[in-house]
């Protein structure tokens, strides 16, 4: 019996490895097709964007200001310079306004105003509203501290535009981000309700006149590995989005249709903005779009120790999300597809760090026992190694054809070295971090289920 189970497991893992390889190939081909089809388009043409407000809907940019966000002032200046005809900026301070944000508000001469706050999604109490007469499209909300998701939902409540660009804390928006994100929406406004783009690493870049200017690819191995990771996420998102109709959005920024986001109750209380990437699965006829152009920039940890900490936090969050799959209360509800889709993707991401090495190990064991023959073993090793290398290689080639690519050939060489590192040491590090996190994971309390108010409820706070 044990022999049969081991034999079955060996074949199962071999099948997993081959299917993953084929799936990766399909995603890579899909991503290549998306890039080729998008051609040299850089988002919405400026002439149309400047002239026709009816064809170019306004966008509300919701930014969460974290307490330790020291460059929030510079980010606000960059946001004010966005290349889009009609937008407003909503900054939500989750907790008391930080000194950095207060300095920026003083510079922009913001003043307290009494805006009507309609909690279409239940959030923590909003304790203050501020508006800048200089940058007339800037509103700052101060609310009771809760969570980033709660802050984003408060921003969703206050946003006036039909489309909302949700920006995570410490993320810079590219100057052309809104034009790029809105281009697929304008092309198909009835169906596209979610739009995402490439998230790039900001380490080694400088900000000039509110726009991120690319320098050299950092030679720091941890950062180069993170850069490659970001490019890999972009390829997988670009490829998965047309195949699934909804998709995993890279970190940083997501553009959503406000009414649809309110319909599903906004950002889940235990989730992030990427959970809304599954919005198209909540109703037929909707789809998401991924734009293979840089839209956001984030700084990544510069040491492996910090990378490990960030990785472990993501694993812990993913495990917490996976537990929700087994929670009957949380499965109920009209919009489970948003939460379950997100949970599934996070589970897959966590498990892939375990399953890939496990597939190789079990295939080796099966080969040793005679359960797997040489061709199958070869297929497993080729699928796992070549699959990952192909995604990394296509990611680097994708970066080569996008704006704001690293200028030098040495940068490309560093990225390919990072790909070699990723395939060898990187997988082992990821495996170690995942296993150590899972073994130390403590059961957390059940998350609070927030019942959304009916959209249109006119409750004054």
């Amino acid at each position: 019996m044990i022999d049969a189970m081991v034999s079955a497991a060996a074949r199962l893992f071999a099948g997993y490895a081959i299917l993953t390889g084929l799936g990766g190939a399909a995603v890579v081909l899909s991503a290549a097709w998306v890039v080729i089809r998008s051609g040299r388009d850089d988002g919405l043409p400026r002439r149309e964007a400047a002239e026709d407000e009816r064809a170019v809907p306004p966008v509300s940019v919701v930014v969460v200001a974290a307490d330790e966000d020291s460059d929030i002032g510079d980010r606000l200046d960059a946001l004010a310079a966005l290349d889009y005809p009609a937008f407003e900026i909503v900054v939500v301070s989750d907790g008391p306004i930080s000194p950095a944000l207060a300095r920026a508000m003083a510079r922009l001469q913001t003043q307290a105003v009494d805006l009507i706050y309609r909690p279409l999604i239940k959030t923590g109490r909003v304790t203050g509203c501020y508006h800048s007469p200089i940058t007339s499209n800037l509103v700052v909300l101060e609310k009771e501290p809760a969570s980033t998701a709660d802050a984003l939902n408060a921003g969703l409540n206050v946003a006036r535009s039909p489309y909302v660009c949700l920006v995570e804390s410490r993320t810079w928006l590219d100057r052309s981000a809104l034009r790029r994100l809105m281009a697929p929406v304008i092309e198909d406004p009835d169906r596209v309700v979610v739009s995402a783009g490439m998230a790039r690493v900001m380490n080694g870049c400088v900000v000039r006149d509110g726009d991120v200017a690319v320098g050299a690819c950092p030679s720091n191995p941890a950062v180069a590995w993170a850069v490659l990771g970001g490019l890999r996420s972009a390829v997988l998102a670009a490829g998965a989005s047309p195949l699934l109709g909804a998709g995993a959005a890279p970190r940083g920024v997501l553009l959503v249709h406000r009414t649809e986001a309110l319909r599903v109750g906004g950002v889940p209380s235990d989730g992030t903005i990427h959970d809304l990437a599954w919005l198209p699965w909540t109703r037929s006829g909707l789809r998401s779009a991924y734009v293979p152009l840089p839209v956001s920039w984030t700084r990544v940890p510069a040491t492996f120790a910090d990378l490990a900490r960030a990785y472990r936090r993501r694993v812990a969050a993913a495990v917490g999300a996976m537990r929700g799959l087994w929670n009957r209360e949380r499965r109920r509800g009209e919009h489970g597809a948003v939460k379950h889709g997100a949970r599934f993707m996070r589970s897959a991401w966590t498990l892939s760090a375990l399953l890939d090495p496990a597939a190789l190990a079990v295939a080796t064991l099966g080969f040793g026992r005679g359960d797997i023959d040489f061709p199958l073993l070869l297929a497993v090793w080729v699928s796992v190694l070549v699959g990952r290398t192909a995604v990394s290689s296509v990611a680097i080639l994708l970066h080569d054809v996008t704006p704001k690519r690293y200028p030098s050939s040495w940068d490309v060489a560093r990225l390919f070295l990072a790909a070699v590192f990723d395939l060898t040491v990187g997988r082992l590090l990821a495996l170690w971090w995942t296993v150590s996190t899972l073994s130390c994971f403590r059961r957390a309390g059940p998350p609070t289920v927030v019942t959304p108010l009916t959209a249109g409820a006119d409750t004054r706070s």
Binding site: P45, R47, E48, E51, E53, R54, P58, A86, Q111, A112, V113, D114, L115, I116, C129, H131, P133, S136, R160, S161, T364, F367, G368, R369, F374, L377, L378, V380, W381, V382, V384, L385, V386, R388, T389, A390, S392, S393, V394, I396, L397, D400, S409, V412, A413, F416, A419, V420, L423, D458
Partner: protein, 463 residues
């Protein structure tokens, strides 16, 4: 387990992944190398050609032109250097550029290229003919406006806009009449056509004006767009735009409103008032913006009513327009807040006004030289505070640098029955650095009607 076989599998896997990575790296590096080489060679040629172009510029008109090889003439880099050197808007340089284009045979060569089977070549031909803007290229450009490639058609239309020749304008107007930008496989983007017509300036206006009566809504809308881009003082234009505000198509009405706003003619603004109550939101938006640009004071009451529009963009445009109108808008706003029975409408009005600088400007007007304006501002601010806009006013009450403003603001807010206001007045009555402000705050609190919230306690405390 056959260890050798296992290592063979691993080795093949590593070799395959290495081959994939090496192939991708080679592609990437080759692409960068080729691109860098092409750009570097282009820079070298550009530097060399600049000296040739400088020699041409130094030569007098009609003088012998230095020999230039066919290879150089066929190079786009040389052509771009030549055009960049002379395309500065000055008529004499334009004449010289035209002469060189004829002498070097560019018009014939590019005209021949316009018949190429490759769309890329035809587009290149259209682009350069547009930059050279030679009158003899009109026929070729007109033919290319019916090309099977959209990019070629768009480039040709843009090029016709650059050729300041009546035949080019005729061709563009014919395109407009043919509605080629609306439907069909040979359409032209409307924005291209509008840009091209607008580039002809005043000449286009009188040609396009009759198209405002075209049976096609798309033609009328484009005609209105052209008029918006090229303001013209002719009274027929004003009359035609006023008539276009009654057009059955919303796009036409919106663009006509925009055109009136851009004309800068305040006398043409009267018909915009009716457009503020149009059934289509973007017509109302353009009308509100146009009224704001023209600072048309007679539209104040309609603008105030638009502050409760269902579209926030229209509301914001109306609020901005009221701010442009200035002090003349304040009495109507005050009256709206005082008399309207719709609480939600009033809250919407207050919210929109808080997003403009109007409140701060009225706070400054409290201390203005004109007593009437100060009185009006006082009434307005009192009503705003009554309807919830206290944060801005209390901030001014606490922090305004001029004591005279704080005194008058305290007097204005004295009758506002809002707990936050009373709290700040109490605070001012005891702690403000200016004696006059303290006295004004005390009077504001003690002068409250009997039974008003905090009134009795305030009087006792003051005593």
């Amino acid at each position: 387990m056959n260890t050798y076989t296992w290592w063979a599998a691993v080795g093949w896997g590593v070799a395959a992944s290495g081959a994939v990575a090496a192939g991708a790296a080679a592609c990437s590096l080759a692409w960068r190398f080729v691109r860098r080489s092409v750009l570097a060679q282009r820079d070298v040629r550009r530097s060399a050609y600049r000296s040739v172009v400088d020699a041409l510029r130094a030569a007098h008109e009609g003088a012998a032109v230095p020999d230039i090889s066919l290879g150089v003439l066929a190079d786009d880099v040389f052509l771009s250097c030549l055009v960049d050197a002379y395309d500065d808007g000055r008529p004499e340089n334009r004449r010289r550029l035209t002469a060189y284009a004829e002498r070097f045979g560019y018009i014939e060569r590019l005209g021949g290229l316009s018949r190429s089977p490759w769309a890329r070549h035809r587009m290149r031909s259209a682009r350069w003919l547009g930059r050279l803007a030679h009158p003899d290229s009109v026929a070729d450009l007109t033919r290319m406006t019916r090309d099977r490639s959209l990019r070629v058609r768009s480039t040709a239309v843009t090029a016709l806009g650059a050729v300041q020749d009546p035949r080019a304008l005729t061709a563009l107007v014919a395109l407009l009449d043919g509605q080629s930008f609306t439907v069909g496989p040979r359409r032209v983007p409307a924005s291209c056509l509008t840009d091209a017509l607008a580039a002809h300036g005043a000449d286009a206006v009188l040609s396009v004006l009759p198209r405002l009566q075209s049976p096609s809504p798309a033609v009328r809308a484009t005609a209105a767009d052209v008029l918006a881009r090229t303001p013209h003082p002719d009274p027929r234009v004003r009359a035609a735009l006023a008539a276009a505000l009654e057009d059955p198509d919303g796009e036409v009405r919106a663009r006509a409103a925009k055109a009136i706003g851009r004309s800068g003619d305040a006398g043409a603004a009267a018909p915009l008032v009716k457009a503020l109550s149009d059934r289509v939101w973007f017509v109302r938006l353009q009308a509100a913006r146009a009224i704001g640009v023209l600072a048309y004071g007679r539209a104040v009451r309609p603008l105030v009513s638009v502050l409760t529009d269902e579209s926030w963009q229209v509301r914001a445009a109306a609020a901005a327009a009221l701010r442009h109108v200035g002090d003349a808008a304040v009495p109507a706003l005050t009256e709206c807040l005082f008399e309207s029975r719709d609480r939600y409408a009033k809250e919407q009005v207050v919210e929109e006004l808080q997003r403009t600088r109007l409140l701060l400007e009225q706070v400054e007007a409290l201390d203005g030289a004109h007593a009437g304006a100060a009185f009006v501002a006082q009434r307005f601010l009192r009503e705003m505070a009554r309807h919830g806009a206290t944060a801005v006013l209390l901030d001014a009450l606490r922090r305004h640098p001029r004591a005279s403003v704080r005194r008058r603001l305290a007097a204005a807010l004295g009758t506002v029955d809002v707990p936050r206001v009373l709290t700040v007045l109490h605070d001012l009555a005891e702690h403000d650095r200016d004696a006059g402000v303290r006295e004004a705050a005390r009077r504001a609190l003690t002068g409250r009607p009997p039974g008003a919230a905090g009134g009795t306690a305030a009087r006792e405390r003051a005593a």
